[in-house]
């Protein structure tokens, strides 16, 4: 499967105009902050972006402008071009617009997408993002989200597609959770990554290990050594970490440099974040050393382990194992 074309993954990003498609694309792939998205204008026709990803893979993102004129074209003259060879469709609903207005047209467009996808790329996977949740009063948020999802589950059932649902907003880490799931869908050898990380955790006696894609800082995989501690921790920590580090990376860029590594010794944990392979970062969470030991010893050990794991993970990434 190492052929040229199979390494291009076509992702369709669709939804009505103003729903937030270009905003999320810019945040995840182009280092925009949420504030920066206010500058974006409506997308004209389709904007393509190509992002290098793990294992020589290229993500080919089709950001399809959502104004009626364009959408009409997607379903008529351009339909072959748009829907053929798609791996993933990400459909973005603006929850506020749904709640305030009549969502019928938006739903029709969505179902139309499903129908075309079913015809041209039947094996593709669909992600529905109920977006701009921040605009819904926090007490109604869950109910609104569930209402939308239930409705869509019901309406899309006849198409028998593989569909996942996420509630998102650019103003918190929920966006990272959704996109982490989307890109993980594209990585064929996830199981191997998982297994290698587990090994690494055992060798290093780590509490937790998280693997990130380098440019997006999306979480690709994580393992915890002993499951018990996991329950006490914040279940949203992975997407939060993506968000936290991404903000810090932007800060490093403002210093006209790039983030390289970080070692943190906190209340009862130490965390090490370092480059693993060309396309990944790793975070290793260790118990903090006791008073008699120095952090330096642990530093040396973990940084050493990361260094020796590099070659191996490089192979995993290129699917050579």
């Amino acid at each position: 499967m190492a052929g040229g074309n199979s390494n291009r993954k076509k992702l369709l990003l669709m939804g009505r105009s103003g729903s937030g498609k270009s905003s999320m694309r810019s945040i995840i792939f182009s280092n925009y902050s949420a504030f920066d998205t206010r500058r974006l204008g409506a997308t004209i026709d389709v904007e393509h972006s190509h992002v290098r990803f793990l294992g020589g893979m290229t993500i080919n993102l089709w950001d399809c402008g959502g104004q009626d004129v364009f959408i009409d074209n997607y379903f008529s003259t351009q339909r072959d071009n748009i829907f053929r060879l798609a791996e993933v469709l990400i459909y973005v609903f603006d929850v506020e617009a749904w709640k305030k207005g009549d969502p019928k047209k938006d739903i029709d467009t969505y179902l139309n997408c499903l129908r075309h996808l079913k015809e041209y790329s039947p094996a593709s996977k669909v992600f529905v993002l109920a977006h701009k949740l921040d605009l819904i009063n926090s007490t109604d948020r869950e109910e609104t989200y569930n209402g939308i999802v239930n409705k869509l589950v019901e309406l899309s059932a006849p198409y028998e597609m593989d569909i996942s649902y996420f509630g998102t907003t650019i103003w918190d880490e929920s966006l990272y959770k959704a996109w982490s799931n989307i890109v993980c869908e594209l990585i064929p050898n996830m199981g191997v990554f998982q297994k290698q990380l587990k090994n690494f955790a055992e060798i290093s006696d780590a509490k937790e290990i998280v693997l990130f894609e380098k440019t997006t800082f999306l979480v690709i995989s994580h393992v915890a050594l002993n499951g018990e501690s996991e329950e006490e921790l914040d279940p949203k920590r992975f997407e939060k970490i993506s968000n936290i580090i991404k903000t810090y990376k932007q800060s490093c860029n403002k210093m006209r440099s790039q983030f390289s590594w970080l070692a943190l010794h906190g209340a009862n944990c130490s965390a090490y974040i370092d480059t693993l392979t060309t396309n990944t970062y790793i975070m290793v969470v260790m118990p903090r050393v006791d008073e008699e030991h120095t952090e330096e010893g642990q530093n040396a050990l973990i940084m050493g382990n990361i260094r020796s794991a590099r070659d191996w993970f490089e192979k995993v990434e290129l699917m050579e194992v």
């Binding site: 949420a34 983030f259 590594w261 906190g266 209340a267």
Partner: protein, 372 residues
Amino acid sequence: MSHGTFSNDSTVVASSENLDRPKILLMGLRRGGKSSICNVVFHNMQPLDTVFLESTSRPTSELIRSLVDFTVSEMPGQINVLDDNYDKARLFENVGSLVYVVDSQDEYLYTLSNLVDIIEAVYPEYPSINFEILIHKVDGLSDDFKGDTARDIRQRVTDDLLDLGLDGVKSFFHLTSIFNHSIFDAFSLIIQKLIPEVPTLRNMLDILCEHTGLEQAYLFDINSKLFVASDNTSSSGVGGASMEHFADFIDISVDLDNLYFESSSTSVTSSSETNADQNNNNTLLNGNKAAGPSALTTQSNSTSKKGLSPSHPRPLKCVSKLANGTTLYLYQMIRGLAIVALTRKEGPHRMALVDYNLEKFRLGLERVWPVA
């Protein structure tokens, strides 16, 4: 400076209401940005959320705990403090700094005459007060215009004071905006003037840098991300990207620590709850749905709101390396402070040395400010 002494004895501080604690008094016409500044600097509010703030109608006062405790009071613009009925003594006693906010995007002539009136009334009786004039909201001005405006304001105020024969006034001007780091830089400088130990701290930081091979070292207040002291060579370089980067570095350290702080599952949720509450307030204030970023926890620094747990068993430490060879260190000190230091030198033993010296520094601080 004569701002009284600082009690190390917390019980004394707690029981005596208005005493020797230095006071920062915020004044200026309404809608100038006073409440916004307080909320952004001392409560980690997101700048955009300040549009939801209601106009303040009564004087407010709050206690800020840091290296030294101080109070920040806001005097609403519509109150005329020069009115004879107003108890000036009560208002200006203990004031270390009078921060006057000038909205640079607005017609400011009247504002400046109000400022000069205040100085004229206050200065003769309280000559030690620092008059800190914020030329505020400069984010809305083009670079050229910003310079012209600042010059114009400074010139007018200085001329007016001279005309009145007030030539000893301690007045300082700062260009600020809540939409960038400038407000933090300005407040750092304002607060430093109120801490009599700052020269000592600077010398301590100088020695630290010299013996540890550090290029810059700052003593930051973790919660507000103001710095209370810097080494003597860095002090000239206030502003610029690096101060903001240091603040971001504090954020990432505290945020990551909070995520893996074992009892944190409770503290994390509680923080997001407070956030949600605050946002509901916004919603209520406006009578409609919160727009924009107000409704959710926003970006990374939202989690830093709670800062570090006071029972943090061991000092929080963080080291980060940039691709250009810069290494940043953070080392938690006492009273919610941390040292943030920068070096560009490499050295295999450097880390242990930095650790050792920073620990010594912490013990030194503990000697000056014993833990209660």
